[in-house]
Amino acid sequence: MNIIVNGQSLSVQPNTALSTVIDTLNLKNQRFAVEVNGEIVTRSLHNQYVMQENDKVEIVVAVGGG
């Protein structure tokens, strides 16, 4: 099935946890925050959230800005 991560389509197996998606993205040791369909999913719940078809995931980090 398909999900959208930061605007890009990504194919994942059914019953994939959000944490599994995150693990494939090279975010180890980084601070990041995750939103699914406009709602924050807190860090402690990443392994409990099961991806649904067409879920829109936003993963953000801190970057330079004023």
């Binding site: 991560v5 930061n6 605007g7 890009q8 990504l10 494939t24 993205l25 090279n26 975010l27 980084q30 601070r31 990041f32 925050a33 995750v34 939103e35 406009g38 924050i40 807190t42 860090r43 936003e58 993963i59 953000v60 980090v61 801190a62 970057v63 330079g64 800005g65 004023g66």
Partner: protein, 262 residues
């Protein structure tokens, strides 16, 4: 003992200079300039991470540690209240519940002037949601007062357009805002060089937030040092109280008596 306290949302800071992390050549330069500036409150933006496109890309927070500095996530690039609120909720999650934020809701991509109705709307929701909101705003004293009434912890009018380096264009409006508000008034945007920062502080601003003036100087680290001194000098001049201006009458500094005669 330093009795001139600079307090925001209950926390005391030594430096009245707040700096951004954008537009530097690289993270090393960002780190050096910020270190030299002496700033303790550092703004960051919140953006989508690359999802594997640049696996070895370094991370700003490896250079600007959230344990060393008070990070101030901003909502730059947001043009409505909803996007700004979403961005800051993500920032709070990213920074482990950290509540101090910089709200800016823009109204126009050419001037980056704030959209004040959306700013007020977002400020209300964020304050209710437990955020300590420092807010970028126009230099309109009425809007500034409304932001204080909502419960913002600092009101941050522009001195001139973001990134313009045009300096303090309307000191009178800034003075009115400073006079009528109880919360710290911080000039956010427009400072171009050290004298601009000193002027803002002499007017009685509680602090100055800047990014481009340092990052886009030919030597950012040296400009960071200059800004640190300008902020301190301006603050001390404000506290000392300047002499009255005498427009049409000179007054000698040396004695007028005891002159030798021919």
């Amino acid at each position: 003992m330093n009795t001139d306290e600079f307090k925001i949302a209950g926390k005391t800071y030594q430096s009245r200079l707040l700096v951004g992390t954008g537009k530097y050549r690289d993270f090393q330069e960002t780190q050096q300039a910020i270190e030299e500036s002496g700033a303790e409150i550092i703004t960051v933006a919140i953006r989508r991470t690359n999802i594997g496109q640049n696996p070895n890309e370094s991370n700003l927070l490896d250079f600007i540690s959230p344990t060393k500095y008070t990070l101030l996530p901003n909502t730059a690039g947001c043009y409505n209240a909803e996007d700004a609120i979403r961005t800051l909720r993500l920032a709070r999650e990213l920074l482990d519940g950290h509540n101090l934020v910089k709200l800016e809701v823009l109204g126009d991509s050419k001037t980056l002037f704030p959209n004040m109705p959306e700013t007020l709307l977002a400020a209300k929701t964020l304050v209710k949601d437990g955020f300590d909101v420092m807010v970028y705003c126009s230099d309109d004293p009425i809007q500034a007062r409304q932001l204080e009434d909502i419960g913002c912890v600092a009101v941050m009018p522009l001195a001139s357009l973001i990134g313009s380096g045009m300096g303090i264009l309307n000191p009178w409006n800034l003075s009115i805002i400073i006079d009528q508000l109880q919360v710290p008034v911080i000039v956010d945007a427009g400072v171009g060089t050290a004298s601009d920062a000193a002027i803002a502080m002499e007017l009685g601003c509680a602090g100055v937030l800047m990014n481009t003036a340092i990052a886009q100087a030919k030597n950012p680290v040296l400009m960071a040092s200059a800004m640190k001194k300008a902020i301190q000098a301006g603050r001390e001049a404000y506290l000392a109280g300047r002499m009255p201006k005498k427009t049409y009458q000179a007054e000698p500094s040396s004695p007028t008596t005891g002159l030798i005669s021919s």
